[in-house]
């Protein structure tokens, strides 16, 4: 079995203010669906080095299996990983308090001007860019697995079933994940 890329040297545990401000930025920068994954990886993994790519991929995957907004789950988990329950509260507070107030006022304002073409054009341009960023982040997190043909096969299957066959997410998750884990188990047993 191919070796999974080793996580780089990690920084010591984050302070509560650092968690708060990091997730404040994640929240404010994450435009459109999925933006949270892009920015949480950028800040928690690349810049602050709180966790490695492998742990980050685990957290994203874990959150996929639970109800609710997954991005919030990333804040909850990284906060818990760094400082336990209080860290979760700091990360959540940063993620929510200020952005929620800004978003609420901005949204109520937008609702008034939703018909303006310039506003629509700007939002369209941002949405096109944000989609590209999300695709790139998914590819990055898949990279450590690129030498395992079975991993690429399962990633490709999941991609096709959602993007082209348009099956519901839950169906895809609960059919492919057990299979993927079974294959990984067989490979591990053979490698031994």
């Amino acid at each position: 079995m191919a070796e999974i890329a080793q996580d780089q040297e990690l920084a010591p545990a984050a302070s509560l203010t650092a968690l708060f401000s990091a997730f404040l930025i994640v929240s404010l920068c994450g435009v459109g669906g999925g933006g949270g994954i892009v920015w949480a990886r950028r800040i928690a993994v690349e810049k602050r080095r709180w966790i490695g790519d492998r742990e980050f991929a685990d957290i994203v995957s874990l959150c996929q299996f639970m109800p609710g907004p997954n991005v919030v789950g990333i804040a909850v988990c990284i906060g818990a990983r760094m400082r336990g329950a209080i860290g979760t509260l700091a990360a959540l507070g940063g993620f929510l308090l200020i952005p929620w107030m800004i978003g609420l006022s901005l949204g109520l304002l937008c609702l008034k001007y939703a018909h303006l073409p310039v506003l629509r054009n700007i939002l369209g341009g941002i949405a096109a860019t944000a989609a590209g960023l999300l695709i790139a982040t998914g590819i990055r997190l898949l990279m450590p697995h690129r030498r395992r043909p079975s991993a690429l096969l399962f990633a490709g299957l999941a991609f096709t079933l959602i993007a082209f066959a348009r099956l519901p997410l839950l169906v895809v998750l609960f059919s492919l994940v057990p299979l993927g884990i079974a294959v990984a188990g067989i490979e591990a047993a053979r490698a031994r």
Binding site: S27, V31, G33, G34, G35, W39, R42, A57, S61, L62, P67, G68, P69, V71, V72, C77, A80, A85, L92, W100, G103, L104, C110, N121, I122, G124, G125, I126, A127, A128, T129, A130, A131, G132, L133, L134, I135, A136, T137, G138, I139, L142, H145, R148, L152, F154, A155, A158, F159, T160, L161, I162, P168, L169, L173, V177, I181, A184, G185, A188
Partner: protein
Amino acid sequence: MSDPSAPIALTAHLALVSSISFGGFPTVLPDVRNFVVSTHAWMTNREFADLFAIAQSIPGPNMILMMSFVGWKVWGFPGAVASAFATLGPPCTMYFGAYRIWYRFRDTSWQRIVHLGLVPVVMGLVIASGVVMARAADTSWRAVAVTTAAAAIMLATRLNPIWLILVGGALGALGLL
């Protein structure tokens, strides 16, 4: 709005659907629409669609904001706060509990196998949702080019993506997309 129990009914309903919103809030959005538009007539279908488009395109916790807008419509600012908590509370409790369990078993060999099987599937899903978003956003070949360029630059460099977002928004404002 005439019914004083409306905020309670909305909050309870949001807490319920957020507990079963596997795959994120968009999966239960049709149900929420039925509840607030058809069952209770708190807003029109058109208003609901506008709120969704706006929640998608402003920064911040989008789906929590979406539900807060709905709460705002029903009961003003207190309604917005109550809806935010109802949407957040149950999932956050579950995330926290699940992560504690996952972290406790972090060095076991079975967890390594779960990681190897699980992560590729989820990353396939992430890339797919990017493509689905692109399909909705890219209404011209120039927009497709912007999406592709954003992905390529993000992969090839360590440039802060905020610059890409700003350029994308500017190109849109100039009417080039």
